[in-house]
Assembly symmetry: C2
Homo-oligomer: 171 residues x 2
DNA sequence: CGACTTTACTTTAAGCTTCAAATATCGGCT
DNA sequence: AGCCGATATTTGAAGCTTAAAGTAAAGTCG
């Protein structure tokens, strides 16, 4: 189904590709779809396993992961930037994590608008257990890639990130 | 901060990497986070632009994109598999698209359980306009990657996809 | 045929997510 | 001091998403 518009009955060689008409961006489009598929598959699998083994949602895990890296806690705005989600989103997520005793809010000492969020002992303990399993799952899912390919993929994605940032800047 | 535990003060060469302790999967973890960041950035930008220029949500666009590829329409199950979202999700999404006149439901002629969803003329026309802009946006975002790098990334992601599928099969 | 399993879809509850609007505070500037 | 634009957060409305449970129709097989 993928190559429907690119002569599926003929092999696609370098010549064919080089003969692309200007303004044809099907390659990039396919690349994006493949990138999206990979991410969706991995994310879905992680979500399922987190629920199955720890009865936790992915957003809760993600938020705790950010907090685990910041011993002194972070503000909602920091979290929002790092997690790339909206501010309003975090309000509710943090509310629920406070309710379940995994994170704590305290007022910022320097800015009366802000509050600092941090993991409770319970939250940290539970997160550490989940994180260990999580790392194993990720390793499993990338097990089919040699160390060398992992490195190359990493590098290409770094370039992608820069390219996207560039394009988004002057939207 | 990245290789903090892998002797940051010394250059990291092939030997150092090869000397990783077994059970250390930090490289894969970082790769996953980078992959996720790329996807999130692109997805967010596409979402913003679709809303800004066409007042449409990404899920609606995605669903119409699937239908545009299937002249005769698809069942909800087909859509569910292709879009990798749950069945229940689609029920509501299709409901809203029917309400706005972009897609139509009809009963399957061969299976009384199933219904076939297809684009209306309105839906197709609007989708085509959006799709053209969308392709341009994607091209923009990947503009920083040479054709060669696009090809290599595509190939590495194909391997990733296979690796993930393998790992998910016997979850 | 009739029991059983699978498949197609809907419904419900809970949670996630965004955008936009509102509130409060901050920081710089005059 | 006082104004003003930026920042931190919350709220509300709408829509998205999943998991789980339920209904109905197909397919399978003895």
């Amino acid at each position: 189904m993928d190559h429907a518009l690119v002569s599926p009955e003929h092999p696609i060689d370098a010549e064919t590709i080089a003969a692309e008409r200007p303004g044809d961006h099907r390659a990039e489009l396919r690349l994006w779809l493949r990138l999206l598929t990979c991410t969706t598959m991995i994310e879905g699998e992680i979500r399922r396993r987190l629920r199955r083994d720890f009865d936790v949602t992915l957003p809760r895990f993600d938020l705790m992961a950010q907090l685990d890296k910041a011993a002194d806690g972070m503000t909602l705005s920091d979290l929002s930037k790092r997690m790339m989600v909206s501010n309003g989103n975090l309000t509710g997520l943090v509310d629920r994590l406070v309710a379940s005793g995994h994170v704590a809010r305290r007022a910022s000492e320097t800015d009366r608008r802000a509050q600092v969020i941090s993991l409770t002992d319970l939250g940290r303990a539970e997160f550490r257990a989940m994180a260990e399993a999580h790392e194993g799952w990720i390793a499993e899912m990338f097990a089919g890639l040699s160390r060398d390919r992992v490195e190359r993929l990493m590098e290409l994605l770094a370039r992608t990130k820069n390219s996207v940032r560039e394009a988004s800047r002057d939207a």
